[in-house]
């Protein structure tokens, strides 16, 4: 790095601020991931069960939130809604935007997982006299969930990383905090470098956790 004086001391000096930012990132991401998971599960179920009203409302929701930029969604929630009387705090917009965005992608993940459950299993359940809901709860959901887990993991990791978008509304999560510090200290390499590593470790930990869940749920291999 010709001409750049690398000085990691700035990280230690700014540790309290960075820690605060990290804490907010974790809180918002946790709510966002949990919400996205539940919304996706419910949405996928609504599609698989062909529920009245929801069977067009859910796909409409998915289309809107998959085909518009996350940034635009965030701006809309934070700047546009107040114009019609809905004023949300930065914190609320942060996790809500993540839930809506992640929920849309997860709805597709779960819907695909449920639809992938072999027809024969569903027919066997119906042939025994189990109703639509019973078949879904005991057969489709457990089997479909396992199929949907890998793609759901992807979406959840994306939710974690997308918490950094909140820089756009000045919500002081990790990235926003770092941008502020950089504007004061100009230590771009050290600061963006270290939060890059932080995000990487967090995402890696999350996927390791999800892999553990997948392994625990996995159906034993055929002999």
């Amino acid at each position: 790095m010709p001409g750049y004086h690398f000085d990691p001391r700035v990280i230690l000096q700014q540790l309290p601020a960075l820690a605060d930012g990290l804490r907010l990132t974790l809180v918002v991401s946790a709510i966002g991931m949990a919400g996205a998971f539940l919304v996706g599960l419910a949405g996928g179920a609504a599609c698989a069960l062909n529920l009245p009203l929801l069977r067009w409302a859910v796909p409409a929701y998915v289309e809107v939130f998959r085909n518009t930029p996350l940034l635009v969604q965030i701006f809309f929630l934070y700047f546009a809604l107040p114009e019609i009387g809905v004023k949300l705090s930065g914190f609320t917009v942060a996790w809500l935007a993540l839930v809506l965005w992640g929920g849309a992608y997860n709805t597709e993940n779960f819907r695909a997982g449920f639809e992938a459950v072999e027809r024969g299993y569903r027919e066997a359940a119906r042939a025994l006299g189990l109703g639509t809901w019973q078949t879904f709860a005991t057969i489709v959901l457990p089997l479909g969930l396992r199929t949907a887990l890998p793609s759901t993991t992807n979406t959840l990791i994306s939710v974690l990383k997308n918490s950094s978008f909140m820089v756009a509304i000045g919500f002081p999560e990790l990235t926003d905090t770092t941008v502020s510090i950089v504007s004061l200290t100009f230590r771009v390499f050290e600061l963006f470098g270290v939060i890059g590593v932080v995000y990487l470790v967090l995402a890696w930990a999350l996927s390791a956790l999800m892999r553990g869940v997948e392994r625990r749920l996995a159906l034993p291999a055929a002999h």
Binding site: Y121, A124, L128, T138, I139
Partner: protein, 298 residues
């Protein structure tokens, strides 16, 4: 798929069997135990006495037609199956045999005609399909055991959800059925740990757990390795002896010949020939039956 009207079981007609009582004759050594020695013709005596009671046939199809879009798969089926009768259904692929079975337990809605289960019309709008499927058991060619559940859970899932029987009683019945099909030690295993023949025997036991009035067997040995076929046929023969009413779609002509009471040949969505298994297999009258049998009985 299901009509959106109120779900009530069909009203019984006079003389029909009480729905609460278990089906008759599923004990060892039932009414035909002594009469089912190989080489003997079907004995008329038990069924005659039941016919004299005025009991309606277990399954009756009147003018049943089924189309998938423009493709008519069943073109007017009339069929009567009496209690404790074993009906074998044979025919080329695409003849509608499987569709026929799937219409009887309402997995497929029929396009026109009537299906009667013990005298009750199950194809009218007020019938609850789930209720029908509890009376009609089905075993599939691909076994379809639930892969995420143990053998015991596979057997007890439906009774636990659908009946008010206490759990211990359900588990006891499950163990008895497992014992009957020769798989007592497999209660805690998962389906993938069993051979095809074992899985199919579990599938039969699972269907029997709901104490159905009639059992539909859809080519249950066609997906099995040849050496595993006989263990499944043995179980079916045992069920026949104890009086279970069964419709068996099969390619096993030997089994049909020895263990069925009546044989039906289907082709192109209609029943072309019907009668005593030996008669039809040895002296087929319809040219298409002759053609089919010539190819099958090599």
């Amino acid at each position: 798929m299901e009509p959106g009207l109120s779900r009530t079981p069909p009203r019984p007609v006079a003389g029909a069997a009480d729905p609460a009582s278990p089906p008759q004759g599923i004990e060892e050594g039932g009414p035909r135990a002594s009469l089912r020695a190989p080489g003997q013709d079907a004995a008329p005596a038990p069924r005659e006495s039941e016919a004299r009671q005025g009991a309606p046939p277990v399954v009756e199809l009147r003018g049943v037609r089924k189309s998938f879009g423009h493709r008519e798969v069943l073109r007017g089926i009339d069929l009567v199956v009496s209690r404790s009768e074993v009906l074998a259904i044979i025919g080329p692929s695409g003849s509608g045999k499987s569709t026929l079975l799937r219409c009887i337990n309402l997995l497929e809605p029929i396009t026109s005609g009537r299906i009667l289960l013990e005298g009750r019309d199950i194809t009218n709008a007020e019938t609850d399909p789930n209720w029908v499927r509890r009376q009609v058991g089905m075993v599939f060619q691909q076994f379809n055991l639930f892969p995420h559940l143990t053998v015991m859970d596979n057997l007890t899932l439906a009774p636990r959800l659908l009946t008010k029987a206490p759990r211990e009683e359900i588990e006891q019945r499950a163990r008895a059925l497992l014992n009957r099909v020769g798989l007592s030690e497999f209660a805690g295993r998962f389906p993938h740990q069993l051979s095809g023949g074992q899985q199919q025997r579990v599938a039969i036991a699972r269907a029997l757990m709901m104490q159905p009035r009639v059992l539909l067997l859809d080519e249950v040995t066609s997906a099995l390795d040849p050496e595993l076929v006989s263990e499944v046929l043995d179980v079916i023969r045992d069920l026949a002896v104890s009086g279970m009413t069964m419709l068996v779609v099969t390619h096993e002509m030997g089994f049909a010949r020895e263990s069925a009471d009546r044989l039906v040949f289907m082709d192109g969505g209609v029943i072309l020939e019907e009668g005593d298994p030996r008669e039809v297999l040895d002296h087929p009258r319809h040219p298409r039956t002759q053609q089919f049998l010539k190819k099958v009985l090599r």
